[in-house]
Symmetry: C2
Subunit: 197 residues, 2 copies
Amino acid sequence: MPEIDFFYEFASSYSYITALRIAPVAKAAGVTVRWRPFLLGPIFKAQGWDTSPFNLYPAKGRYMVRDCERQCGELGIAFRLPEPFPQNTLLAARVALVGLAEGWGEDFSRAVYRAEFAEARNIGDPAVVAEIVQALGHDGKAALARAQSDEIKGKLRAQTEEAQRLGIFGAPNFIARGELFWGNDRLEQALGFARKP
Amino acid sequence: MPEIDFFYEFASSYSYITALRIAPVAKAAGVTVRWRPFLLGPIFKAQGWDTSPFNLYPAKGRYMVRDCERQCGELGIAFRLPEPFPQNTLLAARVALVGLAEGWGEDFSRAVYRAEFAEARNIGDPAVVAEIVQALGHDGKAALARAQSDEIKGKLRAQTEEAQRLGIFGAPNFIARGELFWGNDRLEQALGFARKP
């Protein structure tokens, strides 16, 4: 079965949109999705940014909010920009890696995005992250402890470095047959590319 | 008949793609398009950039080339990045305004984009611009002279200032019922929005 890698950052509003729609779209296309959380912070820092480009460039930021409202409106999902934006996503990304290793990572990722961009909760708060894990029927305290292990920390670092090597500079991204596709708008094209003989 | 404004910058690779496909797509949607060339330079300068973000951020630049190759491949049109990139587009934008006032502006704009991004010619060269006008059956010398009139210079300045007021920060853009849509990917959404009751 053809596969794509889905590189997502929890702080990214367009990754939220993709996260909520990718499973059924990929299934209909007959493509397997590997969920791969990573951090944009180090990548932004390497190009001289200390925050999101949506904060650095206010016109771009204002447009992004309106564009996400319209895109989410068409998909029938809510959109609210969380405060602060961007959120601190280090813990959530590590817990997602724990969940992906234990089989509940995709549900967790969707739940984090919903909390952040539909309910405007602060997903940088460990209590919020633990609560999301609990609500999925897993041990929040154990997951947060494992998230701080050297194994998980190293895995997130490696995944972020791999993203950088792949030429990633934003989110979401899809890797299909070694090629990078950037942006929620490119999901369908990446799926089609993955299926090419 | 519903209308949209199409704000384009000749240096913009994604505006090239839109310019070559907008007429039939808008016609099929029953929407009139007002072609409105403007300059991104002053807008980039206002946010601290002295060149294209595709040069400032090399990973983004490399991705743009590959993405445009793929998008153009799907549309069956050529794509080559011109040298230098971005091109100096001041004269071409002024001549486009002359052409739009005289009824040949849309054909001229498409021809400029083809020369630039399919044939990798230097559209900053007045001789190339004059040749494009001639090839369309008009007086190249007269068009270039009128392009340097205060009327046309002021019109391009006003259009660029209007773009900035509308919140434009890149290209291409569509204004539908007062709302900004950015990017070749948003053409269909803008057309649909223009048609809403």
